[in-house]
Chain length 476, copies 2
């Protein structure tokens, strides 16, 4: 592809993307293809000869687009709704062209320093103390993995060198999180060699927050049987209901017990840019580390997870390893090389999109959008509360509502199956996408607001579809 | 940023990027900023109000560009030279706008199935048997981590549930690689809880290939003392010299010993798209897993690492974990959900760029480019061989040459310091960037060809700079 072709295709892509970002709601949110459809439509072999890019773009429109589930659709209310904002899309375009690999300072001073600068900006916006130093990873799964690896390093003397197996004096190691915590905690514990049994899921209270007394008891029981507590993961905004664990009380326990505390604020953590929200997270400043995901609720495309820690030295101690071919004068002089605080050596220029988003929207613009998302979720919750054939199943602290249909005509034992059918029917509309969870054993529908262009009309449409389909299905 | 602004800035970015991709050689390859320069030039706080994007782009040009080290410069000969090709840049632009998160099939049928299709295309192009199934990770570090996690799962019964500490019958676990293998193997072993002592670095021969007899002896010694061998990592194209371990002989040993074999072809593995290269990798088809990085030598921007395994079931067994909120009908019906074979839940739409590159260049185009890169490296090696004041320090099997200056005027004990100064002087030119390694204790310069626009003139310029600066420095 020569420069002229690049310009031609680039300009038409700008038009395509501008149109997409403005009108993604012309597509069904949830893809309507069946498993295997796309695979069957594509050739089984790579082409031998170069193909004209016009043909590639035709296939993109004809085959790939129908197989997309449109995360960037204002009717996307599933999982955690995310957004790829226009300035961030432009930043990713630039980042792809620059192809920085910020493993060492010298291989990208720009990506290395812009990461520190933008993470310091975000830290300050969230009201986190300056003792927290940040590093960008791809996902919260990776952030939590690194935080727990640092905790293991702190808890088990010599683990980096000597490992875990066959170590005299190293018995079962335990990490604690609530029964509402994200599955990435499970995966981290498994990967780190603690075993899935090395994770204790502490019960939560009736508002889905970790019970601090239950945590205290679990640690005490473990200590009594020779188990070593390694870390507690407190969640600021759980995946199912966005409940917030009592991080202050948990921090008290962790400090008393000498156990490290990691706070998983992947979704809700960024809401701390609104000062009025911060008291809900009181105690987070006592955590050893905290993860927030700008790619969830701060309008940058996947992936960008920000991990802050008060003990970057421990993280560095766990991972720093400098082979000769990566030795540099700057590294020897103490300049930060990002490879030293991560498993991955290669690193994209992720800070660029965060920088452009923070500048293009400004702190005030971001606060206003988050506040509007929370207003929409509360509005929806109000509709649910006012409608006898629906019930709300959890508080709505941020932008996610948990609820289900409870039509009088449907017997209680059939409500789960009924709500599954309802979810399927609503999603089949193409106008909205909701997802589900299970709370206290009950199948629960979730409406998660987070897309930049989601307006009251989209939430109203979701509510209309839910009521219409519930009435229709219950009437059968 | 409204649609009109997006269009305006998008179109001017297309022009900027087209110009950059064509003329990146107008910049010094290695950034000339000093540590802290960029940080000091940027504000200490995020802006409160939105800022016009024109100002952001001005700052980009004025502050960020000078702090870039230009990986996409044809004079980039450091580390492994990589390229962000025009079709891949366009693909990343699209991917950012679509913001797919392919954790589940239903959250992106397109990203899920295009990943399988393009990895099958690439597998076939490389001549790997169809028994190998692929998955895309961000980096080779992550690929190797997953491969070794699967090996741990296979070697230690119940490790997923019970972990490593305090397990009766689980003694020291060992992974083997050559003394030339990449540092990601060390980081994986540490992370997995085997401890750095759980890695045995097997000596290599005089051409930097793992010594199979030494591997056999190391395993025998370990077995004799109750150590459990877990896996061997064979490298196809080591980081320092691109040497290829005798993977067939290693596979013999692994099969005999019942130890898993992972092949790290992060850089050179893709060269197997050239049929004449494949015999050098004979035996790789007996590995349990093999990683190749299209973001290294297949012209897609970071990040995209392809991990192939004959035992995706073991990988799935090590990581699959489906919380209620991620349960889907398709998953229950056996449709592949990519989250099941990885630690990270969030996944970008990485396959799009690989698809566009494979189509835009065709297999023939990619082969021709790799062949030209290897020709350029051999050409350079020939110049080194013919010049008495330089010496070559390793064979040149692919596109990397290892060498140093040995001017008669410089005493042997001073050669390391001399070559460090030479490297610094050459890199200060701004025309080229080379990096270094250490071979048999000797400081070694590396010239790595891999940038799409690198032509003979760029290699000749590197050679000219090396000779001129060596003569100047030796004359002092």
């Amino acid at each position: 592809m020569d420069s002229g072709e690049f310009r031609r295709h680039g300009h038409s892509l700008v038009e395509w993307i501008a149109d997409y970002l403005e009108h993604s709601d012309r597509y069904p949110v949830l893809s309507r293809v069946a498993p295997g459809d796309l695979t069957r439509a594509l050739p089984s072999h790579a082409p031998e000869r170069p193909e004209p890019f016009d043909g590639v773009m035709d296939d993109f429109e004809r085959l790939i687009v129908p197989a997309l589930t449109h995360w960037n659709h204002p009717g996307f209310f599933g999982y955690f709704a995310t957004s790829s904002s226009p300035p961030a899309v432009l930043a990713e375009f630039l980042a792809a062209a620059l192809n920085q690999n910020a493993m060492l300072w010298r291989t990208s001073p720009a990506a290395t320093e812009l990461e520190s600068v933008t993470l310091a900006w975000l830290r300050e916006l969230m009201g986190l103390p300056s003792g927290f130093e940040g590093v960008i990873y791809d996902t919260a799964s990776t952030s939590t993995l690194h935080a727990l690896a640092a905790a293991r390093e702190a808890a088990v003397s010599g683990v980096r060198e000597k490992g875990l197996p066959g170590r005299a004096g190293v018995g079962t190691l335990r990490v604690y999180c609530s029964d509402q915590a994200h599955s990435s905690v499970d995966k981290s514990v498994i990967l780190l060699g603690l075993g899935h049994e090395g994770l204790c899921r502490v019960p939560s209270d009736n508002e889905f927050r970790m019970s601090a007394p239950a945590l205290r008891d679990a640690i005490a029981r473990d200590r009594a049987t020779g188990v070593t507590p390694v870390a507690v993961v407190a969640t600021l905004g759980t995946t199912s209901t966005t409940s917030v664990d009592p991080v202050g009380e948990i921090a008290d326990i962790c400090e008393r017990e000498g156990v490290r505390l990691h706070a998983d604020g992947a979704y809700a953590g960024v809401a701390a840019i609104i000062p009025e929200i911060r008291p809900r997270f009181a105690g987070r400043e006592r955590a050893d580390s905290i993860v927030v995901n700008p790619h969830k609720w701060l309008f940058v495309p996947v992936d960008l997870s920000a991990c802050y820690t008060r003990r970057m030295d421990v993280l560095r101690g766990a991972f720093s390893l400098v082979p000769e071919y990566l030795r540099t004068a700057e590294g020897t002089a103490g300049v930060r090389n990002l490879m030293d605080t991560g498993v991955q050596l290669g690193r994209r220029f992720r800070a660029l999109k965060l920088w452009m988003v923070l500048r293009a929207y400004g702190a005030a613009g971001l606060r206003a959008t988050l506040e509007e998302h929370m207003r929409l979720a509360r509005l929806f919750a109000g509709w649910v509360d006012a409608e006898p054939s629906f019930e709300r199943l959890a508080p709505v602290p941020f932008s996610v509502a948990c609820f289900r249909a409870v039509p009088a005509a449907v017997p209680v034992p059939e409500l789960d199956a009924f709500n599954e059918r309802l979810l399927e029917a609503v999603n089949a509309s193409g106008d909205v996408l909701l997802s589900h969870t299970r709370l206290n054993g009950v199948l629960t529908l979730r409406l998660a607001v987070g897309q930049l262009r989601t307006a009251e009309a989209h939430v109203a449409r979701a509510w209309e579809l839910l009521r219409e389909n519930a009435a229709r299905l219950a009437g059968k």
